[in-house]
Amino acid sequence: MTGQVQAQTATAAPLLSLEAIDKSYGSMPVLKGCSLEVARGETVVLIGPSGSGKSTLLRCVNLLESINAGRIVFNGAEIADTHAEAPKLRRRIGMVFQNFELFGHLSAIENIMLAPVRVLGLSRADAHDIALSLLKKVHIPDKADHYPDELSGGQQQRVAIARALAMKPELMLFDEPTSALDPEMIREVLDVMVELSQEGMTSLVVTHEMGFARRAADRVVFMEKGEIVENAPVEVFFSGSGNPRSQKFLSQILH
């Protein structure tokens, strides 16, 4: 799969391109000249110690965080950070959060239907069909009418993935999607993500799950102190021949 993606990278412009992104909170820099490209169909895993800026970088992509300098190019067009443009961009980029953030007043299927109906203007019947097929895709069609507080963490996260997919995004952002889950539920969420990746969904994933990176990633990006230290194909990254700082981090999280 990796070879195919690399061939694609060579011929087509990347779907997402971050160019020298700087961001700081007050006088504290959190991102320092981060550059990263994600090709269509590629799965890129972002890893690094906490506070390294990986979640912030992810949130800059769909303008949940504003940047101080640099350029974000999505699908060939530079992204302008304006109130009018941000919602339009976000329709095309799905996001999954650490704490699921399902809407508590809506059932699973209503959570998935909300944005297609209200944002895209789909009919309820059409949105319902899409939502049901997505619940099948994440393996919980029987939970359609359950409310978030009646679902396990793993089930909630899978509904959240379905909710993001309902907008038919061109890119999916995963912000530590399994960090808030009990160990026995991590697998069911990762399996869904691996399936998505194999179907060619372009994904940028912040995670500590190295098993997922091995199974699904095309490339692994290691960040530390707001900088991208290493950006390598997955087999190179795990071969032990990469950057010493990322190898040190790897040995720490793998014990």
Binding site: R91, R92, M95, H105, R118, A164, M167
Partner: protein, 244 residues
């Protein structure tokens, strides 16, 4: 003194009392609805990035909480005409009660908005919703569960406050009763009839409120235990609206 039950009954069905009760009901409902809208706007303005807007709301709350509502009613009715704004007694009353109610609703709305976690708004935005859509489809429906019980209390409080408009000659239930009584000195019968109307309306509000809260509670376990109807009736709901 002889008490005539038939006269009470006669008053209850007389056009003057029925119209008075309808006026009271209209004043109550329109004031509470406008109060909710004003309160929501104030609550949203308090979250504004701009200091001037936040300052403006503080000034508003200070003015309307710091003066008696009867003063505000009389002020609107008697002072606005000298600026060329001539409003009927009914409109003046509703305007003053709404503006006053908004100042108290702001706090209720704010607690409701704050009960919805930030991550929920972020999730709405990430789906491509505009700020208005996030408010309308994500925040307000969830805030409503928190807001509903205290708004119900305010509604009952407003029904009682509405009697103050009789001071600016609006033919509400109280003025209707008082004028009827002073015409033939049957104070007991006339005011009893008015009292029956007030009790009937507040009871209906309480029953509606309890039913609505029960409907919400079946879906979601409420942080507040349900309040029995008897406790509501004698005003032991904890967050009873303040006497102004």
């Amino acid at each position: 003194m002889t008490i005539s039950l038939s006269l009470i009954l006669e008053y209850l069905v007389s056009p003057v009392f029925v119209q008075g009760a309808v006026t009271t009901l209209l004043i109550t409902v329109s004031s509470i609805l406008s109060g909710v809208v004003i309160g929501l706007l104030l609550a949203l303005m308090q979250e504004s990035r701009f200091g001037a807007i936040r300052g403006g709301t503080t000034l508003y709350l200070w003015l309307f909480r710091g003066t008696p509502v009867l003063f505000q009613i009389i002020f609107v009715f008697n002072v606005l005409p000298s600026f060329g704004i001539i409003l009927s007694g009914f409109v003046s009353g509703v305007l003053a009660l709404s503006l006053n109610e908004g100042a108290y609703m702001a706090e209720i709305m704010r607690s409701g908005l704050q009960a919805v976690k930030r991550g929920q708004k972020v999730a709405g935005r990430a789906l491509g919703m505009t700020e208005w859509q996030v408010l309308r489809f994500v925040v307000l429906p969830q805030a409503a569960r928190v807001i509903l019980p205290p708004v119900g209390n305010q509604l009952i409080g407003m029904m009682k406050l509405s009697a103050l408009v009789s001071a600016i000659a609006v033919q509400d239930l109280l003025l209707a009763a008082n004028q009827t009584a002073s015409a033939d000195f049957h104070y007991f019968e006339a005011l009893t009839a008015a009292g029956i109307y007030y009790l009937a309306m507040t009871t209906v509000f309480m029953v509606l409120q309890a039913a609505l809260e029960r409907r919400l509670a079946t879906r979601r376990r409420s942080a507040n235990p349900p309040v029995s109807l008897t406790r509501r009736l004698i005003g032991m709901t904890g967050a009873q609206s303040a006497v102004r």
